[in-house]
Amino acid sequence: MPAGQSSSASNLDRERYVARFREMCRIREFETAAIAASNEKLVLGAIHPSIGQEAVAAGVCGNLRRDDIILSTHRGHGHTMAKGADALAMMRELFGRAGGTSQGKGGSMHIADFSVGMLGANGVVAANINIAAGAAHAIKLKGEDKVVVCFFGDGAINRGPFLEGLNWAGVFKLPILFVCEDNGFAATTRTKAMTSGDGPAARADSIGIKSETVDGNDIAAVDEIASELIDEARRGTPRFLVARTYRLTGHTSSDPAPYRPADEVKERWLNDPIENCRQMLLTAGVDESELSAIAEAAAKEMKDAYETAKASDWPEKDLAYVDVQDIGDPRGGAF
């Protein structure tokens, strides 16, 4: 049974969950705009939407301080936004324009905003796990009161860094929470078909990193368990959270996902975490008009971000040679 029960409607902290609802709507609208831009060839390369998984980003990051640290994956827009990155700077980054979070050098798959403790999405599955362990190691060495959250997918547990990074966190008793978003798929393959044993929670437990499993489409459940585990991690006990969820889009925005039945997807849409959250807030007595206004504001914010990004300048060409390293001429020997 998933741990972490939702608060009942009567004692729900409305303000808290209205804020989570707002964050989830913003993530959904950001990615909807980004997908449109991708279809129009304004956003280039691959983008990996997290539509359907917003409750994990909002529920976990909502429990972090600004100077806490997160690391993410190729599917990282939601985490980045929920950690506090500026939506317009993110949109510019996806468009490859000046004023992007990484000046247009990284794009969607390497989205990062160090000013809010977001130390990068990663194009290499599972690579962020070891880096996150190191960020937590530095926190411990410096005696800081921070925590690291490392997000990854269920597919990442089959790479070596999963074993090495979790073992490392356990050996050094690091302030870190690993969050495995189990959306059932690794690219176009059902993860279970390629995973021996009982999956992420069992593996974490076997390494001595105690796990909890939660319904990742239930914002209150995610929020409550995340708050608890983050507190524990901050005190130096590394923890592991499996959030069961579903990727409502294809692997990338251009993947029609023919490898899964249409009925399955249709049914999963009935468990949309944003709609779940809306219903929870309505039951708790929040005005429908308040929630509609929040959803509309999010849509407008991201539509504006899209328009502004589209009208933004390209980066200066010479920027290609900047920030390689302090020493040595990068043009040496080139055409």
């Binding site: 990484s102 990068g120 880096i131 190191g134 530095a138 302090d326």
Partner: protein
């Protein structure tokens, strides 16, 4: 000036830098016991187990954790034992450490040093003997240092620890016991400055790491025959001292590159091509590379010797160049 071994010089560099900057720490397998070659011997007594940190046998996490710890304000020294084992951490070094600063648009720096001992040593066979420096010279974002003397091991390692970008620091295992003069005081090397080991007018021999000593031995033999070879030790391969090499070859008109690594696609190819591109009319003979054949390194000495560059081979190649 003090006389010191190559290994002691490196230990002194680490100790001095750790005293100077509390954010410097070292991490790797068995460091508490001094490391596999004794490079860290005694350091845990002064700095404690948090800063001379043992690690699990997890090369990819040692390197990956160092990337995370470097991006968040510390300056890790990563010990990989052998450059061969560092191949278990190539993603962390090449895709992560070398790219983070650029890929994130300058939002971060990755000030780490990865020590990867290279080279043939005591019949250690195919997986404990390689010289893989060219791999990393190819990667934008990395500095590659290949010290050949105790003085350079100290001065280059100090520079590497102070560098704000990732440095691949390749000590040669056969040099640990080599003694030499080491300057007193805070001697910090400048990357990209070659050292003229020997001056000469007839040809330029460019080398690095342990092969510098073999080249110097050959130059001594050649001097007895009236051939004056200039020997340059590159000391770092990125950045590398193009100016010094071009200036020398412009004077001598002949270039011989000597490397322990496999010659095919080795760093010597870069040096040779650069000289050929820039100095073609001034060359009195075609540029020449000497390096290992493209075979794995064997265990039996007689087989291992097949990949070893000898002073005799260098002298013979030099004679050939001077005759043309």
């Amino acid at each position: 000036m003090a006389v010191m071994t190559y290994i002691d010089a490196s230990r002194q560099a680490v100790a001095e830098e750790m005293r100077r900057d509390p954010m410097v720490w070292a991490v790797g397998e068995d460091l508490g016991r001094g490391g596999v070659f004794g490079q860290y011997k005694g350091l845990v007594d002064e700095f404690g187990p948090d800063r001379i940190s043992d690690a699990p046998i997890s090369e990819s996490c040692i390197m990956g954790a160092a990337v995370g710890a470097a991006m968040t304000g510390t300056r890790p020294i990563v010990e990989m034992r052998f450059s061969d084992f560092a191949l278990c951490a190539v993603d962390e070094l090449v895709n992560q450490a070398a790219k983070a600063r650029y890929m994130f648009g300058g939002q971060t720096r990755v000030p780490l040093v990865v020590r990867e001992p290279i080279g043939m040593w005591r019949s250690s066979a195919a997986q404990h003997s390689q010289s893989l420096e060219a791999w990393y010279a190819h990667i934008p974002g990395l500095v590659v240092a290949v010290p050949s003397t105790p003085a350079d091991n100290r001065a280059l390692l100090k520079a590497a620890i102070r560098c704000d970008d990732p440095v691949v620091f390749m000590e040669h295992k056969n040099l640990w016991a080599l003694g030499g003069d080491v300057p007193d005081g805070d001697d910090v090397a400048e990357f990209g400055k070659a050292r003229a080991v020997r001056e000469g007018k007839d040809l330029t021999i460019v080398s690095w790491s342990a092969a510098v000593h073999t080249a110097t031995e050959a130059a001594t033999t050649l001097a007895g025959e009236g051939i004056e070879a200039e020997v340059l030790d590159l000391r770092t391969l990125w950045p590398w001292d193009k100016d010094a090499v071009l200036a020398s070859v412009e004077r001598t008109g002949r270039l011989l590159v000597v490397q322990e690594a496999v010659s095919v696609a080795g760093f010597g190819a870069e040096v040779a091509a650069t000289v050929a591109e820039n100095l073609h009319p001034a060359l009195k003979a075609p540029v020449k590379r000497l390096g290992a054949p493209r075979i794995p390194i064997s265990y039996a000495p007689v087989l291992e010797d097949q990949v070893r560059i000898t002073a005799d081979a260098i002298a013979a190649a030099a004679r050939g160049l001077v005759k043309t």
